[in-house]
């Protein structure tokens, strides 16, 4: 049986990669993809604990996380399309309409 630390380290690596992607990239599509990476890291941790504790609640919560990810992707991509229609760009540095 694989120890739970393996899964936790994998989740930590994927989460950190997602954080670095959100902080460094300028393309808004890649920022949204990095958020999906972070949600996957959370799911790995939830299911690892669920499997090792013999308790199914973690898997149900992973389903809810996937639901929230789907809703977030739908709304986020709607915002991207609306913004591209107005500004003709995918670069977040040019999207500063509400910046003081």
């Amino acid at each position: 049986m694989i120890s739970i630390q393996h899964y936790l380290i994998l989740g930590a690596m994927l989460f950190t990669i997602g954080v670095v992607g959100v902080l460094t990239r300028r393309n808004i599509m890649i920022i949204l993809m990095s958020i999906e990476l972070m949600m996957n890291a959370v799911n790995i941790n939830l299911i690892a604990f669920s499997s090792r504790l013999g308790e199914v609640s973690g898997q149900v919560f992973a389903i809810f996380v996937i639901t929230v990810a789907a809703a977030e992707a739908a709304v986020g991509l709607g915002i991207v399309i609306a913004m591209f229609r107005n500004k003709e760009t995918m670069n977040i540095n040019e999207i500063d309409l509400m910046k003081w």
Partner: protein, 178 residues
Amino acid sequence: MSVELILFYLFAAIAVVSALFVITARNVVHSAVGLAATLLSVAGIFLTLHAEFLAGVQVIVYVGGILVLFVFVIMLISVERSAYERQFNRQWAVALTTSILLIGELGFVLWRGNDGLALAPPVGPVESVLGVTGNSQLVGESLYGQYLLPFEIASILLLVAIIGSVALSKRKTQPEQP
């Protein structure tokens, strides 16, 4: 080394390498392909944890739904110009500090909590305890029993997301020119 461990290392290596490819690729479509590889290998990781239902949900919802939505939006908006621009922000110092702090924090938690993570093995397979068979039935009984109210709230969340995305991406009707 058992077969299980070899499979775990294979899927984990694919997941991490293609996640790095997602955040470094120049073309957005290449990022989407890397994300597909990551999501599929995370589904494989779920299989090594004996969460078969979640592996199926991962493939169907993430790869078949969310990722296809991403690819559609990439097709709708032009990518030719953005591939030749500068790809990274000038805030690498902030990103480096944050990621080092995050890795340090997670590593510290794993290092100090190592004893607490030596979990007692579950008392036999879960199926035999509850008298049901299979991972899907187990998840279903929990989802429609104990977690029925959160399930209904999640459906309302999806409805709100549908309405919100339609309202956001709808083209405003132009007033008629006289």
